[in-house]
Amino acid sequence: MLVAGLNYANSTALFLTFLLTGFTLVSMHQCHRNLLGAQLVAATAQPTFAHRSGTLSLTFGNPAAAARFRIAAAVGDEPVAPTDLPPHGRGRIDLPVGAPRRGVVQIDRLHLVTTHPFGLFRTWTWVHAPIEMLVYPHPNGSLPMPTHYGNTAGARSLTNTGADEWLGLRPFRDGDSPRQVDWKAYAREAPLLVKEYSAAGAELRMFDFGALANLPLEAKLEQLARWVVDAEGGGERYGLKLPNGYIKPDRGPEHRHRCLAALAMFGLEDVQRGENPAT
């Protein structure tokens, strides 16, 4: 444009060129200002199961009186899911984070990017925030669940036992067996619900690492995770016996997390232990 304007000694074209040059420079400042001062208020990563994608929830705060727009975040590569921050407000980004194997996924730094307002410039920054995401073992394995306290024989699967009492429906949670999902309800456009049964009687189940002697380590952990998930889904009380520890039988989401976390971290104690995966 400049060349054309100069060549034809065309004042209008030159002025247009200069105006757009100025505009571009202004937009550079605006782009910078759009990211400058945005605060990462919270970054939480809910535990997930291996082979699935976890979610890293980032909450951004905007301390300024001017809104910010199109702030995107990424772990490493291409940014996704931009969010807008109202004045003095907050915005949230849910980033998918891959969980290839059990243990802890360490996220050292986040990539924040914005191209607002005109897409001519790209302001970016790294946020160095050590975030850990706990990855439970993939619930897998087809061995029958031990029935009684300490008893490793006695095969009884939850779903094909008519003796269990119907408890009701609850929302789907990660790790629930697809066999327990109320697909009929789902077909009626209800949310994904899971049928809950209470085990007949207040049975205690103790899942013993040592009882699975003839499986490789990871398979053992996956089988134990399967059992924990199924037992919690069945509303049963269960405990976990590992070579390096013992978790008393109990039930509830916190208990489930404790058991699965123990399985996730089994044998990885030399890695820095994240007591609370949320930072």
């Binding site: 060349v3 000694a9 065309n10 209008t12 105006l19 001017a66 931009p82």
Partner: protein
């Protein structure tokens, strides 16, 4: 790694980009063949219908075929893809085809970019004062479209303060305003070129203005255009009407039918003795694609090295006048030669080139023999024109090869060219050196801007004869036949000479006055802004005190300006950025502490509210109880747990109570420790 998907463009982005593109087409609509905007319109409608699910977008084969057809259409029409008109047509068509495959955000960006180039094309073509606001508006439209397109990809829904159209419009406007100072600075100081890198011939433009030949006999109707040829600003008083002869090409060679300029330039400029008043003036020449620069009668020299000053006082530019040009001249309307005419020039300007027009030549010889001097002979011939039943018309009959014979003895109807041609032939036939001068006569005086507007309809031709002892002397035979032509424009004597529009304007005095105002404004715009060039830049720098601007000086000044602007922008843009500005509650607390400070209690910066409250109750029991409880309330509001709704109300109440609190000043005393 997952395949990166190109972000989808938003519907809103599509509508804005398409709208800006459509406006860009409108800006160029009258410079491209009529089918180009129609095709663009069809594609725009098609794309918008597709966006509303009314129609499907064409597949890749149809798009390719369409693109090829349209390029072929441009080629057939222009025989080239180069040049401004062909390029613009191509840009419009390709942008329109691009619309049909616009899905991703990136495509929308491309459409906006094409639109900016359409704007540039419009700027290159027309730079009038009327267009400037349109261009600015369109630039703004492009920026808004850019903002909306850039905002597009939405993965997370429902942002509370959505970046809506209004926000985009405001932001784009603000950004352009911020850019304005830099643009002005760059415009004034950015180095211009004295010439061009290359020239693209603007072949599609018809040549206007005076030609380099004149054949009065071949013209049966003189089309008079109302276009402006040039404007002339005089420093002192303007010349009287009978002296307003604007000199253009001088024609020497006559074959009996057509007068031509000479290709030869065998003589140098003879020194002249200037008589009468001196006229200093500036000419703003409109583009004409001709080489002529005009001057008032006899100029004293060439204004620029690239313009020749010929021996017959023409100004001839090496380059055709492709753009508006302005230059300053000094002229005299009355001169005396200081030396006799060179024999070669005498022979040249008495040459009759063959034996055409025998009757006229015989008449000339007869008339010459009846008088004693050349000047008496001139008067005799003029008398012949006056009394011989000649009439002035712009629609003369066609003439044969002996055009002067036909005119003098038969038709006796003609315009300036006929009279000048006949007169010069009569002179030459009697041995008096003579030549035809073409140019303009008169011009419209614009009293608002104090300048003459000389239009193509003011074109004129007259004669110059060499009189011994005086030199070249202007004789206008037309003035004898139609003396009013001198005083008034061609409109007055021949109202049918020009277009209906011009006639209408001329018939309404108020409209004429309005148009004069408009022309004055436009001229100022043209002179100050549009024709701002290398020379003006130098002039401006010299006025600013830089006598011989050197590159590095300019560079430093320029850099300083740029840095200053950048700082200003950073400050302006950053104003919305966070500052450690305390919130409402903290502001109220600070106000409270200030009041206490005036009453003699200063809170040390390390003291929290609780510690401060403790100190207050301990050392200053004289203060009202409110003060103590207010400080504690701040601590509770700041750190305690409250519902959001009641919190806001409580903060407001806290604020009010602080402002109502009245303390007696006891500035002399500091708190005890």
């Amino acid at each position: 790694m997952a395949k990166i998907q190109r972000p989808e463009g938003s519907r809103r982005g599509l509508i804005w980009a398409t709208g800006a593109f459509g406006a860009g087409v409108l800006l160029n609509v009258d410079r491209v063949p009529y089918w180009v905007p129609i095709a663009a319109l069809v594609f725009v409608v098609w794309r918008l219908m597709a966006a509303s699910q009314l129609r499907r977008l064409p597949g890749v084969i149809i798009r390719s075929v369409l693109a090829l057809l349209l390029v072929a259409g441009v080629l057939v029409r222009f025989h080239t893809l180069n040049g401004l008109s062909a390029g613009t047509a191509l840009l419009i068509l390709m942008g329109a085809v691009k619309l049909l495959e616009t899905r991703a955000q990136r495509d929308q960006f491309i459409v906006v970019a094409v639109t900016v180039f359409l704007l540039l094309a419009a700027c290159l073509d027309r730079q009038g004062l009327v267009h400037a606001p349109l261009y600015l508006l369109h630039a703004w439209l492009c920026c808004v479209a850019l903002a909306v397109v850039a905002y597009a990809p939405t993965a997370v829904s429902a942002p509370i303060p959505a970046f809506d159209d209004r926000a985009a419009m405001l932001l784009a406007g603000r950004s352009l305003l911020f850019a304005l100072p830099l643009a002005v600075m760059l415009f004034v100081f950015f180095p211009r070129l004295p010439g061009a890198f290359w020239a693209i011939p603007r072949s599609d433009e018809a040549l206007t203005g005076l030609g380099d030949s004149m054949s009065p006999g071949s013209i049966s109707e003189l089309t008079t255009s109302y276009d402006v040829a040039f404007r002339a600003h005089f420093e002192g008083p303007p010349p009287p009407p009978q002296e307003r002869y604007w000199r253009g090409p001088v024609l020497h060679e006559f074959d009996g039918y057509t007068w031509k300029r000479t290709a030869r330039s065998f003589a140098s400029v003879e020194p002249l003795k200037y008589l009468g008043p001196e006229y200093r003036y500036r000419i703003s020449l409109e583009p004409s694609a001709r080489h002529w620069w005009f001057s008032l009668d006899t100029a004293t020299g060439s204004p620029e090295p690239k313009v020749y000053f010929t021996y017959d006082y023409q100004l001839i530019s090496k380059e055709p006048v492709k753009e508006g040009t302005h230059y300053s001249l000094v002229s005299y309307t009355s001169t005396r030669a200081m030396q006799p005419l060179a024999p070669l020039a005498r022979r040249y300007d008495t040459d009759l080139y063959g034996n055409r027009n025998p009757k006229s030549r015989a008449l000339a010889v007869k008339l010459r023999s009846g008088v004693t001097s050349d000047s008496a002979y001139v008067r005799t011939v003029l008398e012949l024109f006056r009394t011989g039943g000649f009439q002035y018309t712009l629609t003369p009959p066609r003439l044969g090869f002996d055009s002067v014979d036909d005119f003098l003895f038969d038709t006796r109807l003609g315009f300036c060219g006929h009279y000048a041609s006949a007169f010069v032939l009569m002179m030459r036939a009697a041995g008096v050196p003579a030549r035809v001068v073409t140019g303009y006569l008169g011009g419209e005086w614009n009293s608002i801007g104090s300048y003459f507007i000389v239009r193509q309809s003011d074109a004129h031709s007259w004669a110059e004869v060499w009189l011994d002892g005086r030199g070249w002397t202007r004789v206008d035979p037309t003035a004898v036949v139609a003396p009013e032509r001198l005083r008034r424009g061609i409109l007055d004597i021949l109202p049918n000479a020009v277009s209906a529009r011009a006639r209408f304007v001329w018939s309404q005095p108020w409209l004429g006055a309005l148009l004069q105002r408009w022309d004055a404004l436009n001229t100022a715009w043209n002179d100050r802004v549009i024709k701002f060039n290398f020379a003006d830049q130098l002039h401006l720098l010299q006025q600013l005190g830089i006598k011989s601007p050197r590159a590095e000086q300019l560079g430093w000044a320029f850099g300083a300006g740029l840095v200053g602007w950048m700082l200003w922008i950073a400050w302006q843009v950053g104003r919305g950025a966070p500052r450690s500005r305390p919130d409402k509650l903290a502001r109220a607390y600070i106000a409270l502490c200030k009041k206490l400070g005036r009453a003699g209690v200063t809170r040390e910066s390390h003291q929290g509210p609780l510690a401060f409250a403790g100190e207050l109750s301990k050392y200053r029991p004289d203060l009202p109880d409110d003060v103590h409880s207010l400080v504690l309330r701040y601590a509770r509001l700041r750190y305690g747990r409250t519902e959001r709704e009641s919190y806001l109300a409580e903060v407001r109440q806290f604020e009010q109570e602080v402002s109502r609190l009245a303390l007696r000043a006891r500035a002399s005393e500091t708190p005890h420790r």
